[in-house]
Amino acid sequence: MIPLISLTVFVPLLAALLLLALPKSTSKTAHVIGIGASALAFLLSLGIWARGVVPGGFAQVEEVSWIDAIGAAYRVGVDGLSLPLILLTTLLFLLSFIFQAKSGDRARSFVVLMLMLETASIGTFAALDGLLFYVFFEVSLVSMYFMIAGWGGPERQRAALMFFLYTLLGSLPLLLAILGMFLASDPYSFDMRLWIDNPPLVGAGAMLALVAMLFTFAVKIPAFPVHTWLPAAHVQAPTVGSVILAGVMLKFGTYGLVRFALQMTPEAFRTAGVVVLAFGVVSAIYGAFVALAQSDLKRMIAYTSVNHMGYVVIGVAVAAMATDPAMRAVALDGATLQMISHGLVTGALFFLVGMLKERGGTYDMASYGGLLKVTPVLGWSFILMAFASLGLPGLAHFPAEFQIFLATLNIAPWGVVSIIAIVVVAALYLRAIGAVFMGAPNEKWLKMPDLDRREAIVIMPLIALTILIGIAPAWLLNMIHTTTAALGF
């Protein structure tokens, strides 16, 4: 058996080392290697998909011994929760490399950082060992720090520093929780499968670990009130950095929320479910209202992430509170699908505003106007993705949010108040579309070019998938449901 998962994880890293080893490589070589490696990783992840997942537990597990004395090993595998996220990750990285292909600004360093980040991201979703997970989880911070600090906007140093310190402070409690579960398992082990099958911590210890993990993942998600690093990081990050940050790295938080918090401390999570639900509801509503107040397109989309991730938190909290396994599966299906939808839709939106910024030099929506006539492809793509983002039926967010609200109504009906956020998000997107794309064209932008072929190649797959998931989500939901229906706690 070819170890497909390990290959997918490490192909980008090997490509990065190759690029470092090549003396005096040009920008072109760097981009070719970047696109080639990420395309290969994408194909490999399709291979993992072809092999499929199994109900109850992990499929395609690969294991190599590492630090025997403390029971840490290199362990990777996939289930219905992690496989869709791995597919999303490899796709978004491939598109990001294509988008970046014409940039000549220290291309080699940028591609190396991106490839390292890709390995860390895939590894985070694939890891089945607590120590390994933490390593991948943290390595992603380093790449993202240098990406923001080196290629960001005018305030990049401060934003990068804040991002690194904030998220490091955020992830250290997880380290504590991992250590707690390690010391509580007998014999000492970092095997996440053991931790899931037999949660090592019970009672007060489990509650402490849960609180630590919730803090970590809330920072990462980001949920109210620890979301403040996100707008700063997004506004300063380069376009590709924003796409990966929103499309992939925010999912570390929601993935961890399910994989660690829900699966390893289920009893404590059930007790605390109501509190988590409340934070989810507040995040969803707060994110929507703050997004409404923005005049900067990129900041606005950044805040809608807080809103969308809030729904994921609601879904997971409801799943924790559910006593009926069928309803729990509905909630988790919705939450997982929401992660994927958000990655596709928000990834596309960040690409689109990045393309707009390259043309107009600003994110300020008031300085545009009437662009739909000037750049129809860009305009219609943005409008379609904005509709997807506000949850229009037939597009990717709808089946996800529908299932989340269905489960919420069933288990904790008051949580459905968060539905008002959908109205707010609809309002803010309509306002943005009106300001940027409707009305009389601004004289200044009459010569603005529409999307070129490279940009179209980046956007079209995301649009196609958004529509596909909206109309016929079964191919994806079945994979997710295989795992969520078999969860035993």
């Binding site: 025997d68 403390i70 390593v135 310190l165 490091l168 504590l176 250590l179």
Partner: protein
């Protein structure tokens, strides 16, 4: 007797090497001195590697050949070799260059005595031996700053050493032996136990630069050649911390040593990083950073009494710390002593900048670098010993640590300004190149360092 001697081969090799080195220095042949030193260290390291797995003592229990002691040799001897190379890179061509190599080697003997000691007498002897050589090493540049630093160091060291020697006599009075093993009975005499503990804290705490006995360190490092600062921040510190572990293996927990050390650790980590945050001299910044790192070592010491997690953590972090700290000092040696010397380093010398980033992130404990695995095990050990509050403080300090080290990373990526080009220095390149590769890669092989 011959059995004991055979176990002491590594130490004997180092001693013979020192004698030969001194001969070479009398002939004023510094390169020969360096060559002898490196060869001796290689031989001694190889001999020490043969001792992995042994668990015994020699000379009536006074000197230990066990896991911690053997690994301390495997860390200290190669680290000494790196320091010798670093000294060569910095001091080549200065008068009495060979004396520096010989003195470093002499101090290393004292360091080995400390980390393997099973007896209070050896502790005192090790303290004096490491001290005497270090005072002279700090004074080597023969200018005002170095002389002042050395004098401060001498006064501080002598007082701390005297207090420790005096205090240890209480333990002798309590158990009637200078060996550590009978200390298990001292719990019945709490006053004697406390007096000895305080003395040990002062003496070894000074050597390991634990707060509040760290005052000498920034001044001494600042006045000394960079290579000597690197050497002292690694070799004598690790030796003193391992000596603590050797004592606390025997000392009963009821004497309260765990709490005393935990409080010292919390103070050391916090104060070290807070002070480092406001330094503008790189050597002082790294000096305070190494003070803080001592505090992390103590997390492992807390757990030496039970299980293997504590000693594993000490060994792993000791090896990581030696590599990354020597590496960081090497870059400072090449780039310059002031924080502004790092401006634009990423453009002027990209590989140097990359290496420094690796060392600093490793010191901050960012995975997958070697330092992370050491810190990870240290936290696990302290948690196992029941010191959750200390682990929380250590974790919060990790964020402070990142802020400290990013202060050095950020200026490297500023636009380059006019600055003297960095000279090519093949010996220094060897040192930072090898330490960087090991810092990057040894995390994968971490299992080698665990029992």
């Amino acid at each position: 007797m011959s059995r004991d001697i055979s176990f002491l081969l590594p130490e004997l090799i180092v001693m013979v090497t020192v004698a030969l080195m001194l001969l070479g220095e009398m002939l004023r042949l510094p390169r020969l001195v360096l060559g002898i030193g490196l060869a001796g260290l290689a031989l001694a390291t190889w001999q020490s590697a043969q001792q992995i797995g042994l668990d015994t003592t020699v000379f009536g229990g006074t000197y230990r050949i066990e896991y911690l002691a053997v690994w301390s040799k495997l860390i200290i001897l190669p680290a000494t070799a790196l320091s010798l190379l670093l000294a060569r890179a910095e001091l080549a061509g200065t008068p009495r260059e060979g004396s520096v190599y010989s003195l470093m080697m002499l101090v290393t003997i004292g360091a080995l005595m400390l980390s393997g000691s099973g007896d209070m007498m050896l502790l005192v002897l090790g303290l004096v031996l490491t001290g005497l050589g270090s005072f002279a090493l700090v004074a080597y540049p023969d200018d005002d700053a170095a002389t002042e630093a050395s004098m401060k160091f001498l006064v501080f060291g002598s007082v701390a050493g005297a207090v420790m020697t005096y205090g240890l006599t209480f333990w002798f009075a309590g158990v009637g032996s200078t060996l550590f093993t009978p200390l298990s009975g001292i719990a019945e005499k709490p006053l004697l136990a406390a007096a000895g503990l305080v003395a040990l804290l002062i003496g070894m705490g000074y050597k390991a630069a634990l707060v509040p006995f760290h005052f000498w360190a920034p001044d001494a490092y600042q006045g000394a050649p960079v290579s000597v600062a690197a050497y002292m921040s690694v070799i004598t510190k690790i030796a003193a911390l391992f000596a603590f572990a050797q004592v606390f293996k025997e000392l009963p927990v009821s004497t309260g040593w765990q709490w005393a050390m935990a409080v010292v650790a919390a103070a050391t980590m916090t104060y070290g990083y807070l002070a480092a945050l406001v330094q503008s001299q790189l050597v002082r910044l790294l000096a305070y950073s190494s003070v803080a790192q001592s505090g992390y070592f103590v997390l492992g010491i807390l757990a030496v009494g039970k299980g293997t997690l504590g000693v594993d953590a000490l060994v792993l972090f000791g090896a990581a710390y030696a590599l990354m700290n020597i590496g960081a000092f090497t870059i400072v040696l090449l780039a310059g002593r002031d924080l502004s010397a790092l401006d634009g380093l990423a453009r002027r010398a990209p590989m140097l900048a990359l290496a420094l980033v690796v060392f600093l992130l490793s010191l901050a404990g960012i995975p997958p670098l070697f330092g992370f695995f050491g810190k990870f095990l240290l936290l696990a050990a302290a948690l196992e010993a029941g010191f959750l509050w200390l682990v929380v403080i250590a974790i919060l300090n990790s964020v402070l640590a990142l802020a400290v080290y990013l202060r050095m990373v950020v200026p490297m990526f500023k636009p380059a300004k006019e600055a003297a080009p960095i000279e090519k220095n093949p010996v220094a390149t060897l040192v930072w190149g090898s330490t960087m590769l090991l810092t990057l890669g040894l995390g994968l092989l971490a299992t080698l360092f665990t029992g």
